[in-house]
Symmetry: C2
Amino acid sequence: MTPNPTESLIQLDTSSLVDKVEANLVKLLVERKLRVGDIIPTELDLSRSLGVSRTVVREALLRLRMMGLIDTKKKKGSVITSPDIFGIMSKSMNPHILDQDTLREIFELRLVLEIGMADLLFQRITPKDIEELKEIVKTEPDTAKDHIFHIDHEIIFHGKLYEIAGNETLKRFQKMLLPIFDYVHNSGLLKKPAQIQKFVSHKGLIDILENGSPELFRNGMRNHLENHFLRIFS
Amino acid sequence: MTPNPTESLIQLDTSSLVDKVEANLVKLLVERKLRVGDIIPTELDLSRSLGVSRTVVREALLRLRMMGLIDTKKKKGSVITSPDIFGIMSKSMNPHILDQDTLREIFELRLVLEIGMADLLFQRITPKDIEELKEIVKTEPDTAKDHIFHIDHEIIFHGKLYEIAGNETLKRFQKMLLPIFDYVHNSGLLKKPAQIQKFVSHKGLIDILENGSPELFRNGMRNHLENHFLRIFS
DNA sequence: TTTAGCATTATGTATAACATAATAAGACTA
DNA sequence: TAGTCTTATTATGTTATACATAATGCTAAA
């Protein structure tokens, strides 16, 4: 084997100043174990102690802000906030910008989530939740009648399920994906037309939640989402 | 009911200049339907045509860059790139920064994903994948022997499953969450100690993939992850 | 004691200047 | 003519300075 001439070269540091300052600040947050609500030094202070211009500090702080690590107020300075994982993500979640493959994949993700969360549902569902679900299906519109309203209703029902799952991160994930689902539904990305008839209805799912098991629910939901699966896998 | 005195007040626009420029640029990208690789005007041009300082334009561009919408090179200017949804997200995914509740929730998310992706697996798995999985379990270490190595092996096996699922977005999601899983495992966040014995082994899962059904796999995986569930729900 | 107004302070914005890296153009040589 | 080296150009990266603006806290007047 011929020796690779680039082998002995060290990796050059091509990162910009802002990159370094950003890394520095994150390191500071981690190592100092700063708690939510703590304030960090002002831009001018940081600029002085780090030996870079205020502009660079500002850009680094902007990044932290976008990551949801800090919230900066006038006069006060920047305070540490509970990081918002999905904050930025949802901003770049513009369906018009994402390419079709990604859209299809995100749509698949929904199916994965709703089938996979059965255990969480059964662990945390309360009688009150059951009542609320029943209330929701009571106002269920006729499938064939009003398509738009039907989609809205779908969102309400399934949204309630996410709520019951009691996982805030999961719920926010869904909330972020919602516009995508909507977009995919209306975009013609799904090949086959939706079948009107559902095998397992919303009402059926509630029955399972009340008297069944996670296993039954997974199959029920799988069945309920059958249409979507068929449309994706065509 | 007494009338609300604030009712007739219009919502003030508290957004900063940078906010507006950012929105403007995103709108530009969407409406012009610009394709990946297209270049957008230089900072100075934008600053002139938008009537704001270059500073503001720079900050707005920085945000777009963080969203993965553009990639800016010296001299060339900024070019549009395929948005990287998880790019920024993974940067703020520092386990040391996330609070414990969020960590627990993200860990739950893993369980949801791996149970929920059964259908994708069965749709896309190939004989070659089965072989590779078998190859992986062949080198499976003794559970009781080397704990660290055992975790590594877990990651390899389950990572392969994500790969088989054939959903790039899902895979990258998992990749992003990996450090979290690792951290949670080692952090003492999980209450009960792990049980050594697994009901359904990796080998068992492979058998199901080869001869079983999605339904069987979901239950198998549910069983396989039983330990994790118990530790979370305590 | 309350409130109106002022001072203070840190971020937001603007401008100008220079550094640096990537590209293009031109000149020079084989 | 082709190829390479040098130089010029251009757009981003960085610095410095100044002023605007909003939030906070203090002070004095009612």
